[in-house]
Point group: C2
Chain length 762, copies 2
Amino acid sequence: MQEQYLKIDPWKIIEQEWNPEKVIASESIFSLGNGTMGMRGNFEENYSGNTFQGSYIGGIYYPDKTKVGWWKNGYPEFFAKVLNAPSWIGIDVRVDGESIDLATATVHNFQRILDMQKGCYNRNFEITTPAGVRLQVSTTRFLSLKRTEVGAIKYAVTPINQNIDLELCSYLDGIIVNQDSNWDNPFWKPLKQQNSPSFSALLNRTNKSAFGVCTFMTNTFEVAGGSPLEPSTTTASDERIGTHFSQSLAAGSTATLIKLGGYLTTLNHDENALIDTAQALATQSMKRGFDTLLEEHQKAWAEIWNSADIQIEGDVAAQQGIRFNIFQLNQTYSGSDARLNIGPKGFTGEKYGGSTYWDTEAYCLPFYMATKPPEVARNLLKYRYQHLDKAIENAEKLGFSNGAALFPMVTMNGEECHNEWEITFQEIHRNGAIAFAIFNYTRYTGDHSFLLEMGLEVLIAIARFWAQRLSWSTQKEKYVMLGVTGPNEYENNIDNNWYTNYIAQWCLLYTQEQLEWVARTHPEVHAECITKMGVGEEECQQWGAIAGAIYFPISEEHGIFLQQDNFLEKELIPENQLNPKERPLNQHWSWDRILRSPYIKQADVMQGFYMFASHFTEEELERHYDFYEPFTVHESSLSYCIHAVIAARLNRMDEAYDFYLRSARLDLDDYNKEVEEGLHTTSMAGTWISMVEGFGGLTFENNSLSLRPKLPDCWESFTFKIQFRGAVLQVHQSKEQTKFHWGGDQPLSILLHDKPLTVSPS
Amino acid sequence: MQEQYLKIDPWKIIEQEWNPEKVIASESIFSLGNGTMGMRGNFEENYSGNTFQGSYIGGIYYPDKTKVGWWKNGYPEFFAKVLNAPSWIGIDVRVDGESIDLATATVHNFQRILDMQKGCYNRNFEITTPAGVRLQVSTTRFLSLKRTEVGAIKYAVTPINQNIDLELCSYLDGIIVNQDSNWDNPFWKPLKQQNSPSFSALLNRTNKSAFGVCTFMTNTFEVAGGSPLEPSTTTASDERIGTHFSQSLAAGSTATLIKLGGYLTTLNHDENALIDTAQALATQSMKRGFDTLLEEHQKAWAEIWNSADIQIEGDVAAQQGIRFNIFQLNQTYSGSDARLNIGPKGFTGEKYGGSTYWDTEAYCLPFYMATKPPEVARNLLKYRYQHLDKAIENAEKLGFSNGAALFPMVTMNGEECHNEWEITFQEIHRNGAIAFAIFNYTRYTGDHSFLLEMGLEVLIAIARFWAQRLSWSTQKEKYVMLGVTGPNEYENNIDNNWYTNYIAQWCLLYTQEQLEWVARTHPEVHAECITKMGVGEEECQQWGAIAGAIYFPISEEHGIFLQQDNFLEKELIPENQLNPKERPLNQHWSWDRILRSPYIKQADVMQGFYMFASHFTEEELERHYDFYEPFTVHESSLSYCIHAVIAARLNRMDEAYDFYLRSARLDLDDYNKEVEEGLHTTSMAGTWISMVEGFGGLTFENNSLSLRPKLPDCWESFTFKIQFRGAVLQVHQSKEQTKFHWGGDQPLSILLHDKPLTVSPS
């Protein structure tokens, strides 16, 4: 059993006790975000205990100089880092001249709640200060979903046992550093500050990348029943400026600070206008008032839940897990800006630096595609299109030519950030996921505009990459792919990874097919694209010829595709026979030992069976699953979800349920003992996949929405919603039946357990 | 044609002109060493131009914290670095109050000479200072081979065109840093200093490794015809102390400074006694006098040349090359201290940090074994024996047990320093070279004492490693070796590298055989070893069983052993069809492209054919050479020599000659454009191999010394000497005949071109 210090609740994450050793973990769990900015659940008041401070702004990064032991040709010069931004939440609370500090005070009745339904983070606690003053504190914080440059804090203080002199110093803090920094270079340069009683702002610019960021705040303060008090300004240091209120406060009376703050950046404004615009926004927001802002915000969350909630009856832990995952995904990415993407830790930590991995296309896209209007998923595709030139440059550095593109393993702005040769140069299947996402989006939404306007170019560049990357084996008389790393990163520099070869083949054929389709249906687009990309009939046919002659390693004995040429050379001891003390392997075994072992970090062949489900029979699926599952150690957070889907397809519901829970509660139960570093945001989309595509059995193939809902034994029912062609389809599965609620105008034809069914509008 | 700014000369390295852009290259070329300490050819006087300052002391290192991009389990915490030590050579020459500086003065008649016969480094030049003074300077420097803690400088200054006020400030410089530093941590901690007119000393301690080092000097100064002058002391800064002389000097008269200096370390002395001992040594040495020290030193060099010189008639460039190589090898390692070893750059640079690679056993041992008394090579073997416990610990970290040892890839003190998984964890053939060296030493010297006293333990630990590292393939019904890097580092994480499998098999069988031999011949040693190592009959038989069932990849089509399982899957385009602009590949191709190419960095299968020459027929050798040579790009300095030996065996003398020259003049002609970083010291032993084992055809197999001398077309003759069983055998090969000179008492039976011959004592 994993550790559970958080209370199980369907809608809320609740921490019920003061756990100093859990502060950093809770800072991750109680993170807030609104797609534009985010922050860890740090305290407003001073805290001298261990803490990991983090505030992040989407799209604002620093190109940190790469750190390597031994430089290899082709490594990128920089690794773009998510930036810890100046913090606007700080409130120094002084009682009779002494700052309160939960690390030194005695804490009573501590409680914090993340209300996922409303998108609010509340804390309530009492403390007895070292001087003996007992104080009640109550806070509410949110980052507005509606006005994404603004966040709000209500901070209320009530002395309980005596009258006090209360001072509140609300401040902006520019003295911040990244934990994830290669060389401890300063990431930020202070440009300017403005500090008046009614408005404070720090204007900073990132070094090298030169993003301008204005961190601002405005505050009001009142004692219950009284009128707002006048503040004065304070400057603690050059980079910490603030507003200061002081007031004598009688025992039992409550003083409340309303603080509004946030960021304006040069992503959306001129640098020169940042401070003035921020001031106007602050004034206007304060006029609107905390309660109105909160109301708007909750309304926005209600809309999200309305089209994306998943209900599970009979299993509150599973219910809480899926909602936490959906909540975090919505906090991380709203889809309104194609320059942003979904980092593996969202806005909850610094690890993994760059923002975009293949996670986006392979795991996140299905979630956003099925719970949002198409524009959201389309912006994820557009993000890559914007990086096409950089991907072509990247491939050129590796010796490719003629417009072949290799999209980066990790990126912010299209440039490769990652620098481990076995991943950066060899884990090239990511290119396939990007092409697949175009296919996946187009088939599900029915929207061909992306393909016509941008997608075709991306597909052509990717097809060119594969055509050059495959090489001819005179021994096999087939095209082979030497020296790759598949999704299972526990094998490096292998030959003929089945998944990579398969998706390469698929890319070549799909690109060929789409080019033909566009030629037929949109000849003018085709003509323009042919000219722009310089792609001829011959090249296109060559793709087909190569695709038709790709080699796939197989085992006749086992009746399976082999993960790679030499997989069967390994000592095939099932993972359940390993010494439990040596798990996870990546913390106990040296890298070479892992590499020559058969243990699979995350779905590899199974990833292909998941993505290309209709290409294989259920018997084939079962054979491969039975072969590979016993070697799969799931040491990637992205592994459970795929195995959950496949286990559900194979009616192995207990197994599917276990995998689902590992994914859904990975962070809440801290399975990997690393939640302190931040949440596994992209794997949360995997949880959604395991729920909707696993238990719901959702697929979309051959132009047909298909469902095969299956209920785990321990659940009463589940209900999920998907957006489909402009309306919401709700699917309810109980022990007895499947029920639908369809919000469209016209009847909807689907397949239910492979049988045609027409769902009428409700 | 490579750049040749150095004059071709049989015994000397001569730079004839002032080349400011060649200063750093020449600092490498003109390096001095005496096996205990060494230094680059830096100027004594101030120099404001580009320079790479370096003084090194054998066995004194700093464990620098490892630098990696992405940490992998098993990586070592530290990388031991060769240390740039405090410098004792500095002499600030002031003319009328201004320091001379070759970067700002006009330089005339500049000449420097490294006299390899005498082991001396001379510089002569004239300068005109910015103030118009013309000055003649003449210097001689050597590091005593006889008294290895002492070096000497004679520095003579003559004003030519006017009388001057001359000041000479001779100093010790503790303000030094390593260029090769991971984190710019300070490597040295100053402890104490002593500064009197007759003696100066800096006592420093290395951080972390805590080696105490006393850098000392003593000076005398006189004007020609006068008596020695009194110095005064100076302190330029805390870490730069010195002795100051001043004198009015008439035009045409010469002032000469004699400076003796060097290091005493806690490797050989108590830290508390270092300064006093140094003072005694300095006083005694100065009493002995510069000329006597030089005489002793030259005598020691004469002895070296007497037993190790190689003469080539008709090719001065080749002659200079081999002497330069022999000279540097003798400067680097004297074999008197088993704690020292041979770094890839000797005492000429910092690159490659740690001191010991497999270079020692695979390339250097034959040179020292055949040109020195057996104790020298024996100390190289003993070095590894001293590290056996650490090698067992190292293997344990990688998951091995029961006393299996993996010797480190790079080391100073037995701990692994290297941290690139594909090398550190996978280039395990190094273990084989260490076992082979024991075999090689024992068969050549006939001395079994090392085997009995230490070698057997090393062999057992290595055999255990291989027995555990090989794994059973149920497909092949053979033992396979998955996930290794062979000598060709342009392939990583490959399966069944033929060379590694072959040497593993050989190790298992040789260990088994030696255990049996010891049991028969030295039962008491055998009993003791069995008890100490806990090795039983069963384990020993198991080694034989495994050895007998090891898999070797072959190509029936080509009739060859394959470098690794999938070698033939590659696109086999010969290297001479590559674009010359893309050479060397490692500077132009990304790592993944190199890895999936067939290009071989250095002898791999051919390394095995070189080491186990008698196991294969000449037809087999030829077939393999013809297959692999066309893919060999020789981008390691250790590649030419092996191919030279094999080409000579195959009577391809032009090819052998080309390879020989590439190896012999690698640094003098700066083929790789990197001589500035230091010399390729260990590959110099490879040059000797290509000469003596290549052109000389020296082998020792089946208890017989065998020679097959062959003369390259462009040579008149060559003559080499080897130490064999206590005497020197000289072999002279001219176009007409082979002549021998044998210094032993008894006739010597050899094979000459495979025919028995008895060589009488001369």
